[in-house]
Symmetry: C2
Subunit: 441 residues, 2 copies
C-alpha cells in the first residue's frame, strides 16, 4: 500500500528530497532551504499547503521565521452574505494577512468556501466540525446526531476543495473534560468547535471521535497533504480560567497528537489561548513549546483583559506581541467586534493591522534583522522630514496618508503637531551647524 | 526664613502630619494613609496637587498604586482652537483619563490654560518651556534669546494659575549632549522641550538654565507645592536610538535631581521613553527605578515599533502594558494621530482607552486584586449571556453598546458571532444537564 500512497511534503523531506514549496518559502524568509527542511523534519516549522495546487503565497510558520498573521472570515446563522465575506477576504489580503480561515456556520458554506478559495492565493484554513455541525443540524435536527463518518467526510471534502490547514479539536478528551468538571471554571468552554465536540461526546456517551479515530483522520489529511492545527477546545475564555488543569491536560494530549501526526507524514501546529493575564503569557508559550516538541504555536490573541469589548484588537495585540516575543509563531487576529458580533470590513482591516503590529514587535524582539531594518528606514525618513517615504514605509500607507492629509495646512514643513516649533527642524539647525560647540563643552 | 515659608505636602509629612489630600488619595487606592505617606517620604509615590486649591480628583502615582493615565491636550502654531481643546478635555475625562497636560504652543496659551484649568478637576500638567519659547519668539524673534528670568517667570505664572505638575528638562546637560554627539543617533532629539533647551544652550554657549539654576527652580516649585516631572529631553525617537549613552546619562542626572527635589520639599517623578524595542522595556523600567531611588516612572508609550503611524495608540499600548507590568506607574497616552498631526476628538478617546487598557493589563500583572475582580465580573456576565452587564462593565460602555447594537438582529440569544450555534449555550445545555456523565467517564 505504501507504493500507492502519494507522498506528503514530510515524506519527501524524509527521503532527502526538498520540495519546491520548501525552497520557495525558504527564499522568502531569507533562510537556507536545508535549514527550513531540517526544521520541518523536527516539527518546529510547517508550510500549510494542500495538494490542490492553488498558486499559494506560501507561509512557512515556525521558530526563527517571520511571525505570521491569520484573519478569520465567515458567516454565522445570523449574518450570511457571500459578497461581504469575499470583500472581507480582499480587505484581509490588502491589509497584509499571511493566511485566512473560513469559519462559516451559516448559509451555503460549501459554495462560500469554494468562492473564497477561488479568490485567494493565501494559505487557507477551516474548522471542519463547523460544517459537519451545520449539516447535521439540517439533516438530523441536532449537532449531536452526526456520525463519525459524517465528520470524516467533511474533512475529506474540504481537503479536496483545496484547504491547506484544518483546526481539529482532537485533544479534547473525556479525561480532559473530567478535569474541567472537577476543577470548575467561570466560563466553562468558549471554543465553538470544542463545544460541538463536548455536546456530541456527552450526548452519545462516547470519546471524542477525532481522538478515537485519529489514525483514520491522519490518513485523510496525509492523502491531501493538509496540515493539522490542533485546536484547543478547552482554551480559557477569561483571565480567571487561564492556565488551569483542563487547559494544560488538553495541551499535554496535543503534544502527543502532534508527534503522531508527524509520524504519519502530516505537518502539525498547536493552537493556544485565548485569554491570559499578561504576566502568564511567556510561561504559557514556553510550556506549549516544551510539551509539543517545539511545534509551531498559533495563538488567538491572547487577550490580556476581559473588560475592553470594542477594543479587543488592542487587548489581543498586547498579548500577541508578548506571546510572539516569547516564541509564538502564528497570531490569529482579533477584531474590534470580538465579543460583540461578527466583524465588518473596517474591523477586518483594524484586526489585521493590530495583529501585524504585534507580530512585527515580536520579530524585533526575536532578533530579526529585517524587522529592525524596516524601523530604521522609517526613523531615517522621519529625521529628514520626508513625508512621502514615511507614508510608503507605513504598515498601512492608506491610513497614514489619510490621517496626515486631513491635518496638514500645506504650508508647514514638519507637521501640524508642532507646527513651526518642530523639534527636529530646531535641532537640525542648531546641532547641525554648531556641533563643534558640543565637543568643546 | 523657614518660618515664613509655606509648607509643602512633603514638608508636612516630614514633621509627621498627614495632609487631607494624602488621606483622600489613600482611601481611593484602598491603602492606608500611613503607607502612602511613607511612600511619599521615600520618594516612591507622588500626589501632584498644587496649592491653588482647585477641587482635585486626586491621583496618587507610584509603586503599588493603580497605574494612572495622562492625556495630552494643546494647540500648535498651525491648529489653534480653544473650543476644540476644551472639547478634547471633556472627552479625555469622559474616557477615563487620570490627569491631563496642556502642551499648547499656539494662540493665546495663557488664556487657554486658564480656560482648561477652570473646566477640570483632574491633576493638570504643563511644560513651561513651551510657553516661554512662544513668548520669546514673539518678543525677541527667537527662542534662543529668552533669558533665564523669562523661563522662571513662566514657571511661577503657571504655578499661580493652579498647575499641579510640570515637565522640566533639567537633566539635559551639556555633558549629556556631548555623549549624544559622540555616539551619534539616527534621530538626534525628538523631544520638543529638549530641542528648545538644546537650541538655547548651543546658541548661548551656556549650561541648561534649569540645571544651572535648579535651586531657584525648586524654590518656585516648593512655594506653590508643584510636583516636578523630570523630562527626558534626550529620549529616543526611534527604536534604533533606544537605551543609548545619551539617554542613560540624562537618566543618571534625573536621579540626582529627583533627590535634590525631595530634599527641597518638592515631589518628583521621572519621565521615560518614547520608542523602545519590546525586549528592552523591562530592563529600561528596572534601570530607571534603580537610578532614581524608586521615583514614580512616567512613560510616553513606549512605542514598540516605528512603522505603524495611524495606529500608534496600539504600538504604545503594547509598550505601556509591558512597562506598567515592569513597574511604570503613569502612562501618557499616544493617539492614532501621533507622528502625523495633532489629535482630533475621536483620537483623544482612542488614545485614552488604549492607555487605560495597557494600565489595566499592567495592574493585573502587578497583582491588583481590584483589577482582577473587574475581569472576573465581566467573565460572569459573559457566561450568563447578560448583555446589559457586559456593556456596563466595559471600559468604554458607549463603544461596546454601539458595536453590539449595530450587529444584533434582536432575535438571537447569544450574539451574531455564532448565532444559534453559541458555544456557551451549547455547553450550558449539555454540561449543565449531564455533568454526571463526565464524572463517570
Amino acid at each position: 500500500m505504501g507504493l500507492m500512497k502519494a507522498e506528503t511534503t514530510l515524506d519527501r523531506l524524509r527521503r532527502g528530497s526538498i520540495p519546491y514549496a520548501v525552497e520557495k518559502a525558504a527564499a522568502t524568509e531569507g533562510v537556507s532551504s536545508e535549514r527550513l527542511a531540517a526544521q520541518m523534519l523536527d516539527g518546529s516549522a510547517v508550510i500549510p499547503a494542500g495538494r490542490a495546487g492553488r498558486q499559494l503565497r506560501l507561509a512557512a510558520i515556525g521558530a526563527g521565521l517571520r511571525t505570521k498573521v491569520n484573519a478569520n472570515l465567515g458567516t454565522s446563522s445570523e449574518m450570511v452574505s457571500a459578497h461581504e465575506e469575499a470583500a472581507k477576504l480582499e480587505m484581509a489580503e490588502k491589509a497584509g494577512a499571511d493566511a485566512v480561515m473560513d469559519l462559516s456556520c451559516g448559509g451555503d458554506t460549501i459554495a462560500l468556501r469554494r468562492l473564497l478559495l477561488s479568490r485567494t492565493n493565501l494559505p487557507f484554513g477551516t474548522v471542519p466540525v463547523y460544517e459537519a455541525a451545520v449539516e447535521a443540524r439540517e439533516s438530523f435536527g441536532s449537532i449531536v446526531k452526526m456520525g463519525v463518518g459524517d465528520l470524516m467526510d467533511v474533512v475529506e471534502r474540504q481537503a479536496i476543495d483545496g484547504v491547506d490547514f484544518m483546526t481539529i479539536h482532537a485533544a479534547l478528551t473525556r479525561s480532559a473534560l473530567k478535569k474541567l468538571n472537577a476543577q470548575g471554571r467561570v466560563m466553562d468552554v468558549v471554543s465553538r468547535g470544542g463545544a460541538f465536540m463536548i455536546a456530541w461526546m456527552l450526548h452519545n456517551d462516547r470519546e471524542n471521535p477525532f481522538y478515537e479515530h485519529y489514525d483514520s483522520l491522519l490518513e485523510i489529511l496525509a492523502r491531501h497533504d493538509v496540515t493539522i492545527s490542533l485546536g484547543d477546545g478547552l482554551r480559557p475564555g477569561c483571565l480567571a480560567d487561564a492556565s488551569d488543569r483542563a487547559q494544560i491536560a488538553e495541551l499535554v494530549t496535543m503534544g502527543e497528537l502532534a508527534s503522531r501526526a508527524r509520524e504519519a507524514g502530516v505537518q502539525a501546529m498547536i493552537e493556544g489561548p485565548g485569554h491570559v493575564p499578561l504576566q502568564d503569557i511567556e510561561s504559557n508559550v514556553i510550556l506549549a513549546k516544551k510539551l509539543t516538541g517545539g511545534a509551531p504555536f498559533y495563538v488567538l490573541g491572547p487577550l490580556v483583559t476581559d473588560v475592553a469589548p470594542g477594543y479587543d484588537h488592542i487587548t489581543a495585540a498586547i498579548g500577541g506581541a508578548l506571546a510572539g516575543a516569547a516564541g509564538a509563531d502564528f497570531i490569529c487576529y482579533v477584531t474590534p467586534a470580538e465579543h460583540l458580533g461578527l466583524p465588518g470590513l473596517e474591523d477586518v482591516r483594524q484586526g489585521v493591522i493590530a495583529a501585524r503590529i504585534a507580530a512585527h514587535a515580536a520579530d524585533i524582539a526575536k532578533g530579526s534583522v529585517e524587522a529592525a531594518a524596516w524601523d530604521r528606514q522609517m526613523a531615517e525618513a522621519r529625521k529628514s522630514l520626508d513625508w512621502e517615504s514615511q507614508i510608503n514605509l507605513s504598515m498601512d500607507p492608506d491610513k497614514a496618508r489619510s490621517v496626515y492629509e486631513a491635518r496638514q495646512s500645506g504650508k508647514v514643513e514638519g507637521c501640524s503637531m508642532c507646527g513651526e516649533l518642530c523639534a527636529m527642524k530646531l535641532v537640525s539647525e542648531h546641532l547641525g551647524l554648531e556641533a563643534g560647540d558640543i565637543k568643546s563643552c
